[in-house]
Structure formats: C-alpha cells, structure tokens
C-alpha cells in the first residue's frame, strides 16, 4: 500500500503535472483575442511628438525702391505660428538702390554714394491665415495652401539713415509636404524720406517668392 502511494507520488504525479502544464498554457493562449492589437502598454510621451510651430526660410524677388529703380531683393524669414490662424513673422531683406531719373538725365551727378545705395530692412509682423485651402495637382496630389494677410513694422536702412517702416501685404503659401512650403507674396513698405527735397512718404513694392522649412 505504502509502495503504491510512493509509486503514484513519484511517477504518476510528475507525469500528470507535465500533462497539466501544457493544457494550462494552451488555456491561456485561448483567452487571447483572435487579432492581437499591435500596441504596447505605454503612456503617451509628449516629447516623442514632433512639434512644428516654427518656420525658417529664404526669399528672393524684386523690390521697387521709389525714385531709385527696381532691383533684385533677397532675404530671410522666421515665423512662429501662435495658432492655426495667427503667426509672428520676422524678415530681413537686402537690395540695392539704382539711379534716379535726374542722375540719368544730368549725366555726371550722384545723389547718393555707392555705400548709401545699399538697402536693408527688417520688419516684424503679425500674420493671419484667412483662406486655408487645398490645391490639386493632377488627380493624385493635393497640397494644403494658405492665403494670408500680413502687417507690421520695422526699419529701413537706406540713403544714410535708418527709417521707421510700416509694411502690409499678402501671401500665398503652398505646403509641398507637412514640413516644406513655398511662399509667393506682395508687400508694400512705407517710410518717410527727405533725400530728394521735401520729406515725403516713399512707397516700395516688393514681389517675392521663398522656400521655408518647418521645425
């Protein structure tokens, strides 16, 4: 009798145990859902989400400098998007003033020295996306676009002095990807100048295009 119990305990039970284990395991496997979600039990770490509210870029175009011809303009811009509608924008631009009609007609006269013809401006603006939209290129591609208005102030360094300058304008932005966009814009820069006699408001039209990258 004792031997039989020993026999059961030592030989049968371990086997029974071995037999039991796989069945328990397979029972666990059966509890799993048919399709397992490919999600790890993780908290959402906000640092892993790329935030792209800044935009940096370069532009080039034509600047019409009142009384001093039109010339090539180039510069850089930095934008910070406050919300889907409003943004801050800072620009610097460089151009060179040409000759006045007087200088051309009179021949050997110079109103400004070469150094004073360097035209530099900076401005800080508030922009507003007024018409968000989409542009469709063929049937396979759609690009998000924005038509925006802009207004702000800064300074223009031209003809020997730095002058307070107000600028207003509008632009069209096409987002090639979520991070790269092209801009086309028109701006009007206003400042008071007295280089050619009486002080007057100088109107300077800028037409430019640029490329920006979000970061």
């Amino acid at each position: 009798m004792e031997n039989r119990i020993k026999h059961i305990l030592l030989t049968v039970l371990p086997f029974a145990g071995l037999l039991l284990v796989p069945t328990v395991v397979s029972a666990q496997e059966d509890d799993r859902p048919l399709i397992e979600p490919d999600v790890r039990p993780q908290k959402v770490d906000e640092a892993l989400i790329d935030t792209e509210n800044f935009e940096i870029g370069a532009f080039a175009g034509i600047l019409n400098i009142e009384d001093f011809e039109s010339s090539f303009l180039w510069g850089g811009k930095l934008t910070y998007h406050l919300s889907e509608t409003f943004f801050f924008e800072a620009n610097v631009g460089f151009a060179e003033g040409g000759e006045t009609s007087f200088e051309k007609l009179a021949g050997d006269v110079q109103v400004l020295s070469d150094e004073d013809r360097d035209y530099r401006y900076y401005n800080i603006n508030i922009g507003m996306n007024v018409l968000p939209g989409e542009a469709f290129l063929t049937e396979n591609y759609a690009f998000n676009t924005n038509f925006y208005l802009i207004g702000g102030a800064g300074a223009t360094d031209f003809a020997g002095d730095t002058r307070f300058t107000v600028n207003v304008g509008a632009g069209y932005q096409v987002l090639l990807t979520d991070s790269v966009s092209i801009h086309l814009g028109v701006r009007e820069h206003f400042y008071r100048i007295d280089v050619l006699g009486e002080e007057k408001t100088s109107m300077n039209t800028e037409v430019s295009g640029g490329l920006t990258v979000f970061f």
Binding site: P37, V39, R40, P41, Q42, K43, V44, D45, E46, L48, I49, D50, T51, E52, N53, Y80, H81, L82, S83, E84, T85, F88, I124, I126, N129, L131, P132, G133, E134, A142, N144, A153, G154, A155, G160, D161, T162, R163, F164, L175, D178, R192, D194, E199, F214
Partner: protein, 250 residues
C-alpha cells in the same frame, strides 16, 4: 522568455542612445485609442479644412506630428489626417488612461515661468519697436530684459533695459503691473542734421501697464513708461513712452 526580457533590458539603453544620436527614427510613436463614439479627421491643421474621415471608438491612432493645436495621425490602414488636440485629450493611452497633452489655458497663464513679446508704440512722439523676454521668479515678481529701437525724424535711438515687474493680482485675466528698471540709451542724430554728435547715457525708468490673456499661450500687453535720462549736462532729460504688443508665455 526571461532570457529574452533580460536581453531586451540590456539593449534598451543602447537603443536609447542610438535614438538620441540618430533622431529616434525607430522610437515607437505614441498611440492612442479612440474612447469617444468617433473623432473627426481633417485634411489640414485648421478648422477651415474639410472633414474627410472619422475614427470609431476602439480604433488606434498613431500621433506623428503637432502643429499648433492639431495632431497629425495615421491609422492601421496608413491613412493620414489631422485631429484637434481637444479630441486627442479624450482618447486613451496604452495603459487605458486618458491622454494628457499640453494645451495652454488660462490656468497656465497664471502659473507661467517665461514670457516673451514684441511691442510697438511711441517714445516722445517717435515710433518705437521693442522686444523683451522675462522670467517669473514668483507669481508676483518677474525680471525682464528689453531691446528697443526708436526711429524719429531727428535721430535714431537704441535702448537696452532691465526691469523688475510686480503684478499684484496674478490670477486676474486682465492683470495690471508696475515696473522699475535701469538701462542705457544710445542716441544717433540723423546724418542730415547740423550737429551729428552721438550720445550715450544711463537711464532709469518706472512704468505701469496691463497684461490681458487672450487664448492658448498668448496675451496682449500694454504699458506706459517714464524715462529719466542721466545726461552729463546741467539738467537731466525726461521721456515718456507707451507701447502695445503681443506676448507668448511658456
């Protein structure tokens, strides 16, 4: 199984370093599960873009990018779209808890620690443009650094200033404040004037103003300052300035 776990734990720090080096391309992007009956997807990050898809309760979304208040999401089938942060706040994370993303509100305004802004106005009749940054040491007291450019018909003035700001009622939506500070002024008369002698002087100033919370993380700030310019002549000069501008806080 245990061995695999140990191996995983051993390699985890390595892969973390690699991610830090290479920009975390392999880092799993955060995923959230829709808990409301549905969320709307738009084609772009603004309310003006059309809704083109909805995700039902229980679907998993991967958060890829954020622009202002919008998150770019993808689903299992590789669709891409933009969901508003308010909708994402109502989803659940992998542990089944509600997602919490930063979404600046008025509460954050009264507990902000940094602010920066751009202001424009008039300094003794001439146009002034100024930028500033400030650090809030306590809820009432902050320290600020300013850079200003004044463009008048007779001169160009540049100023650097430091001031402390006291706001007695930080929890008010429109909160008044007082400032006290010192700085330096650089005056450069216009080239066309007869006596183009540059000057630079120390200045002291006191002012009062108001911050008005608008929405998200920005507010309008307006202020008036009275400047005392300490010249090396018999009398000191005084100047009044007012400015208004838009600031952001972090």
């Amino acid at each position: 199984m245990r061995l695999a776990l140990i191996l995983l734990l051993l390699t985890a720090p390595l892969s973390a370093t690699a991610d830090w080096l290479w920009g975390g391309a392999d880092e799993p992007l955060p995923q959230v599960q829709v808990a409301e009956p549905f969320v709307e997807w738009r084609t772009g990050p603004a309310v003006g873009y059309p809704v083109f898809h909805t995700s039902e309760k229980g679907e998993w979304l991967t958060l890829r990018m954020r622009k202002t208040s919008w998150l770019k999401v993808t689903d299992r089938k590789g669709r891409e779209g933009w969901v508003h942060v308010d909708d994402v706040q109502l989803t659940l994370d992998g542990e089944g808890e509600q997602v919490s993303l930063s979404d600046p509100r008025f509460d954050n305004f009264s507990s902000r620690s940094w602010e920066a802004g751009l202001m424009m106005g008039e300094f003794e009749g001439a146009a002034v443009t100024a930028i500033y940054g400030g650090y809030l040491m306590t809820r009432n007291l902050s320290a600020e650094l300013w850079g200003s450019q004044v463009l008048g018909s007779a001169s160009e003035i540049r100023m650097v200033n430091a001031n402390i700001v006291h706001q007695p009622f930080p929890h008010w939506r429109i909160s008044p404040f007082f400032t006290l500070g010192v700085g330096h002024i650089f005056i450069e008369p216009k080239a066309t004037l007869a006596d183009p002698g540059d000057r630079d002087n120390s200045i002291g100033h006191a002012g009062l103003g108001v911050r008005a919370y608008v929405t998200d993380n920005y507010f309008i700030r307006a202020e008036v300052k009275d400047y005392k310019i300490f010249t090396n002549r018999a009398t000191n000069e005084e100047a009044t300035e007012w400015k208004i501008g838009l600031s952001i806080f972090f």
